[in-house]
Symmetry: C2
Subunit: 214 residues, 2 copies
DNA sequence: GTCTATACGCTGATAGAC
DNA sequence: GTCTATCAGCGTATAGAC
């Protein structure tokens, strides 16, 4: 689900060792450069937020001047959108891809995976809340993401309800919003006390409450 | 639960019209001034975050120069701590005060109240996530708040479990963290789409799942 | 207590040489 | 494409007159 306005982001990761010369111009090198910039920006925005992170920080990390960085991304805003779009390619947000896989399994699996990728949870948590301030460039991305996610989980819960596998009295719509909310909130607590919070356990608990065994 | 380090914040709101002269010096006026500064800072930090909000914004809002503001709060950090401490006096975080009151009733009541106070939810959501960046001055406040809240709800769920009113299989500790997480997360979604999200309903749903009727 | 003046750093972004 | 130089602005905080 790519945001249409984010035209900056690279298409697919190509082979690192560019054996054959690129068909038209030095696009391969440029794309590689862009990827490393986005990776650096990812880390900077995760650690300092959008407002707190500077282009200089990103440029230092990638080993280039701040003005050269602006050659690839004409503004800080564009860089943020590229980072957010790149995030989508990492995460699948717990939607089961394998039809055999349970919703709970997909969610728990994704939650466990996120724990292992440094910065993923931090970037998401920090930027999401920051985006409700001002005229933050990330607001549209997060608003659309929430709507999309709620629709996705609503479909999943509705399907379960049709099979009679949703606990009686549970509203699919509110359950969808609640699952997302629980996930987001538990990530925040986990960031502050990773050893005390069992993210996957809390998500599993909730889904075991809502979804009846097959 | 006042943070010990926040020595800045005023004690109790006094009568606005200071009829009798203050006993020692112009303390009353000064306190009033401090309160209006904190109120302005509350709004500014809610709308722009800590990093995004400037002392100039606060000073403009309260109608004084930025340097005069620093006379009352020697640094931006001190001002933030005063704002966070003031937040505690507004919110009770859904702990039942009346022993007759259900946990669910207390939570739902607080959630409904928070909706009516502009900026309360926004300030909390924005600053909480922002505090996990950098060496943000608010981190200690939110970390301690989470620990305190988890202990509080753990007690409540444990007491319910002793009465046999906790659904079998529910872990009181994870339920405490989950309730807080759900609350935080649903507030974020509500900020982005207030008309689509039923905060109180989601919280009620969760507690109805976890707590058995009396 | 309140102000002006100001120090001093950092910000994102532009111009233009190479 | 990459750089240096630079702009114009804003940030917090300090010094000191009144």
């Amino acid at each position: 689900m790519s945001t249409p306005s984010a035209a900056q982001s690279a298409a697919q990761p190509a082979a690192k060792s560019a054996a054959q010369p690129a068909r038209r111009g030095p696009y391969a090198k440029s794309r590689q450069r862009r990827e490393s910039i986005v990776a650096a920006a990812y880390a900077v925005f995760a650690a300092h937020g959008y407002r707190g992170g500077s282009l200089q920080d990103v440029a230092d990390k990638v080993g280039m001047s701040q003005t050269s960085l602006l050659h690839y991304f004409p503004s800080k805003r564009d860089l943020l959108l590229a980072v957010l779009h790149q995030r989508d390619t990492i995460t699948q947000d717990g939607t089961p891809r394998d039809p055999e896989q349970t919703l709970a399994d997909a969610v728990v699996r994704q939650a466990r995976f996120n724990e292992t990728v440094p910065g993923v949870i931090e970037l998401y948590t920090v930027l999401c809340a920051e985006s409700v301030t001002d005229n933050h460039p990330g607001l549209e991305y997060f608003t659309e993401r929430y709507e999309r996610l709620r629709r996705s989980y609503l479909r999943a819960f509705t399907a379960l309800a049709d099979e009679g596998r949703l606990r009686p009295g549970v509203d699919p719509g509110r359950a969808a919003a609640s699952l997302i909310a629980l996930w987001d909130g538990i990530q925040t607590q986990w960031l502050m006390a990773p050893e005390r919070i069992d993210m996957a356990g809390c998500l599993r608990d909730y889904l075991d409450l809502v979804v009846l065994p097959a």
